[in-house]
Symmetry: C2
Subunit: 203 residues, 2 copies
DNA sequence: AACAATCTTGACTGGATGGTCAACTCTGGT
DNA sequence: ACCAGAGTTGACCATCCAGTCAAGATTGTT
């Protein structure tokens, strides 16, 4: 039998179930607004059972956040200095749209943290994220200097991509209420955003 | 003596102080995450004193939200069908940037509500806001049909304006942590956003 | 000054909530 | 079948928190 993951089969299964349920609850109500009872109910377990697998509510939250951060910056990291500038940035937009579609809860969990002033992930933002953003900003500036894309502030460009893509996950409730049909808002969004950034980036 | 506002001088003063303090607290921690004690401390009053001026924590929150909604849609309402299409939309962007600068707490309070699924303001969104958005969407579509601006989905245009402008208020903490200098991020943002929408709207 | 109305607060209550524990059940290996 | 360890939970505790209340302090009016 493989020794890949720690814990028994049941441990692995229940920890996964709890994290899934906690993500749903935390992403909607924030840390303080969520209760262990809610998480337990969502997971289909009893409260003491949830606390058998995690030391505390705080520990569940921290696990979720830590797991999240890695996947959160992966799309930005994949921007290839050797690729075509416009295509690389548009591909990044596509990856971010995809993340809003596939991981809306994760997006809201992140948004909740930032809204509160980012106390739990300040280290990540000032460290790993800032290093990466600075690096990609230099790259974009170099691309602009070579005349292959419109010359714009790379930080504001990155913030614009974040704002526009994450908005469709974070403000999903509002967007749905403002639509007549019940089509997926993100379907039209991808085309709209690609058009927007194509125009913005054209030299 | 004027009878403009209800209550005594002290009542008006303290209600204002409490609402100001509550806005600060609620906008950071959300409704469930905030305590009356926090609000009282921020206001420099005792907890029972806060509850002397408002029936409940819920009542404070509701007052804030109701006060907010009116000012929140005013900038959109001001778009003038008789004006120049591009200038009208750019002026709307400018007003929204101004709101993020002047009322960041209000923006975060709103964002918190939407993140939670907008349970308290669903009526407002489906009613007053939707009516207004639909009206302005028709206007923008007519403008596009007349060839005076780029032909794009008016709903996605409006969502883009909201996403980009509110991002600077809602994600302020992150943006500050990613900057080296300590200049006001919104200074550069306004120029960036106006450039972005000028390019997007060009026919 | 005197009085009534308004304002303020320390001490309290009841319910919610995070976390514990002892007793119980289930699982897998022999 | 048996057993040791893993998994589960009802009952419980301590703390936090919204809201109450009665008693005292302040204010405005005469």
């Amino acid at each position: 039998m493989s020794e890949m993951l720690p814990g028994t089969r049941i441990q692995r299964k229940n920890r996964r179930i709890i994290l899934r349920a906690a993500l749903e609850v935390f992403s909607r109500h924030g840390f303080r607004g969520s209760t262990v009872d809610q998480i337990a109910a969502e997971a289909g377990l009893s409260k003491p059972n949830v606390l058998y697998y995690f030391d505390s509510k705080e520990a569940i939250h921290e696990t979720l956040l830590t797991d999240l951060l890695g996947t959160w910056i992966a799309p930005l990291r994949e921007i290839d200095p050797a690729g075509d500038p416009q295509e690389e940035i548009l591909a990044y937009v596509r990856r971010k749209v995809q993340m809003s579609r596939d991981f809306p809860c994760e997006s809201r969990l992140f948004a909740n943290e930032i809204l509160q002033g980012a106390p739990r992930i300040e280290g990540f933002i000032r460290g790993e994220l800032k290093t990466l953003v600075d690096e990609k900003a230099r790259l974009i500036r170099a691309w602009a200097a070579s005349g292959r894309i419109n010359d714009l502030d790379p930080y504001h460009l990155i913030f614009s991509i974040w704002a526009l893509t994450q908005h469709y996950a974070d403000f999903d409730a509002q967007i749905r209420m403002l639509r007549d049909d019940d089509s997926e808002p993100l379907d039209g969004a991808e085309a709209h955003l690609l058009m927007l950034f194509r125009r913005l980036l054209a030299p």
